[in-house]
Structures are given as C-alpha cells and as structure tokens.
Symmetry: C2
Amino acid sequence: MSKAHVSDAVIRRLPMYYRHLKELEKAGVERISSRELGERMNLTASQIRQDINCFGGFGQQGYGYRVPELRWHIGEILGLEKQYDVIIVGAGNIGRAVANYDGFRKEGFFVRAVFDVSPSLIGVDVHGIPVQAMDKLDAWLTEHNADIAVLSVPASQAQATADRLAQAGIKAIWNFAPVDLHLPEDVVSNHVHLSDSLHILTYRMNEEALFREIEEKARMNGQEQD
Amino acid sequence: MSKAHVSDAVIRRLPMYYRHLKELEKAGVERISSRELGERMNLTASQIRQDINCFGGFGQQGYGYRVPELRWHIGEILGLEKQYDVIIVGAGNIGRAVANYDGFRKEGFFVRAVFDVSPSLIGVDVHGIPVQAMDKLDAWLTEHNADIAVLSVPASQAQATADRLAQAGIKAIWNFAPVDLHLPEDVVSNHVHLSDSLHILTYRMNEEALFREIEEKARMNGQEQD
C-alpha cells in the first residue's frame, strides 16, 4: 500500500500484466501463482508480488491470483474501464494509421475529430471524419470534449503544437513526434518514439560485433601499455 | 569497459542520447559536460558517465564530451552508420505508415518489399512498391537481401508469421503486433507496443484519483480494524 510515487519501471510493466492476463483469461485460466505469471513475463515471483502490492495487492498467500479479477483490477488501475474522446492532430501517415486502427474503439478510445495545418488535407476523409484546419481547434473544443490528443505532426512543429493544445485545455497528449515535449505540470503525456525503438533493434543486431571490437581495442591498448 | 551485457535500461537510453546529441549538434554546441547533458535528459551526471563508460568512454575528465564525436560514437554503437534493407510484412495501416515514413530513408532504412496475405491487397502500390503475396517471400529472399522485417500483422497471426520469417532466414524483426514473440536465439526483435503506450498515458491521467481511492480504502480498512 503506497503513495502516488510508483516507479516508472512498474508503470511500464502494468500494460504487460494487462496483456498477459487478458491472454490467460481468453485461454480459460482461472488462477495463477506469482511464480507462473513471472515465468510468462520474465520476472521473478517476488517482483510480481511487489508490483501488484503497489496498488493494494489482490492475491491470497498460497492461492495465487484469480485471473479475471486481477485483469479487471489492472484494467481499472490503467483507467481502461472508462471511455475516452480522442482528437488527432496531424493527419499524416501516423495520424491516419491511428485513426483507422479499429482496436482502439474496442478498447474505448473514440476518435472525434482530426486536425491538420496543411490546406491540401482539409476536408479529406479520415475514417469517416473530415480533416479540419488547426485554427478551428479552439472553437471545436468549446462545443466538444477531448480527453486525449494524438500528436502526429513533424518533429519541427511538435513543441509549438503541444503548447497550443495545452493552451486550448488538452490535458493528455499521446506523442508520436520524435521530440521530448516540455508541458505544463497538469498535462500528462506519453511518447511513442518509433525511431528509438528501431535504433534499439539495430543496436541488438550489432551488439555482438560491437563488443568484439571494444574488447579487441582494449586488448591492443593493454599491449601498448606493456 | 565491459562485456556484452549492458542492462536493458542503458540500451533504452542510447537512442535518447543520440536524439539529444543530434539536437545539440544542430544547435552548434561543440562540447557538453555530463552534468549539462544530464540536466537535459533528466539523468544524473554520474549516470551519464556510467552509461557511456559501458562502451569504452569517450570524454575527458574536466573537459566534458565533444558533441559531434559523442554523437558519432553513439550512432556507431546503435549501428546507424550502416544501411539496412527492410521488408514490410502486413500492409495494413501501420505497415503502410512505416513504408511511407520518409524519415527512415534519411536514416539509412530502405523498404525493398511489402508482403501481405490478403488477396485484395496484392498488387496495391505502397510507396511505389507493389504488395506481394506472402507465399512469394521465400523466393524473393533467395534473390534479395533483407536485414529487417517490419511485422505489422494482426495479433492473432503475429507468432506464426514471425516463425515463418525466422525460417526464411530473417534475423531481425521490428514488431508492431501487440504480442510478445518467441523467437530463435539468433533472431533479435524489438516491439513497438502501441497499446501499452496508450495505456501508460491513461494510467497517468488517472493516477491521482486512483491513489486517492486506494488511500481512502486503506483508511476505512484501518478504522474497521480499530
């Protein structure tokens, strides 16, 4: 039972728990021990128990967790029992892919409007919604609700657009631009850094050769010093 | 100077270093201390030095890091001085968004082919490349090189498609399907879990209210026990 400062590592694992528990529930598994869940997720049993205890703890010693119950609790912790009104800002490839992704609707995320600065995109249909000019944003927000803005503009415009969204009253930004945003304290955000993810992949592709080289160099430096 | 087991946390930070150093270089900054770089990245100076020392260390005590040199070294560590042939497997919204993303080409990632199982997509043009049937994959790979496969198929088909890619000789998978893949040891992968990222955002939106509730509940349980 702890205060509002759950570590980022725990927060990052919560959606993983949710995914695995959903799969287990689908497979008809009714209960699971922290050891079994840990094996599935490459975590230790004690890590699992610690993580879940951050939010009050829902298991029974020696019995394990009831899968549907824990899945429901984690969903509640993640705020997934609610519905969210979403606007998309930037109707390029990524913005359109997000708007067209049917999975979101199933999870309670509803795209209500799409905005872009480019005159050539205004009026274009994105998943049944005509793209509006960015300067219609404030007027639109006085009449409609938006819980989340998907920020899918080019990197060079990301901070200025985020500032504008914050000024317009948006409190949550899902950022696809490859930029770390500076936002007012009451605006939350999370970043999907696609290029970071690709760079981690190329790192893994090259890791072995890299360390062979580093070791080789170290050996040669060692010999020089002899 | 250390062996090939750099922690996941360090690996996750490498692309962040690269991004910040690229921005600094663009802004004409020639050198930076670990303290200044740390402030930019929300890390301590000693964390920065430790991270960079995993790969041999490139700074001078009391002088800091030369920005262009360190950017170049981190790029090399990430394998970004190379070019990569990429195939896209799954020509839905995400696959098409990746294929159309011009930034990749600038970074040395070249989309060479696009595959899909859906007959209605075969022949459709994606960024100048006609979509091919999945059963053409093996034949295509005997004649062409593919360093990376972008896996952008539905969750239900992800593992089977990944197995097929691994059998066909693919050694690196950039996975957009919301599934943790099981792959042979010599195949590396990295996941872009879009829904995980969205769930972390909704967690942050709800965190304060959640902990008010948890504390309230704890208080009430405490009173009951009195």
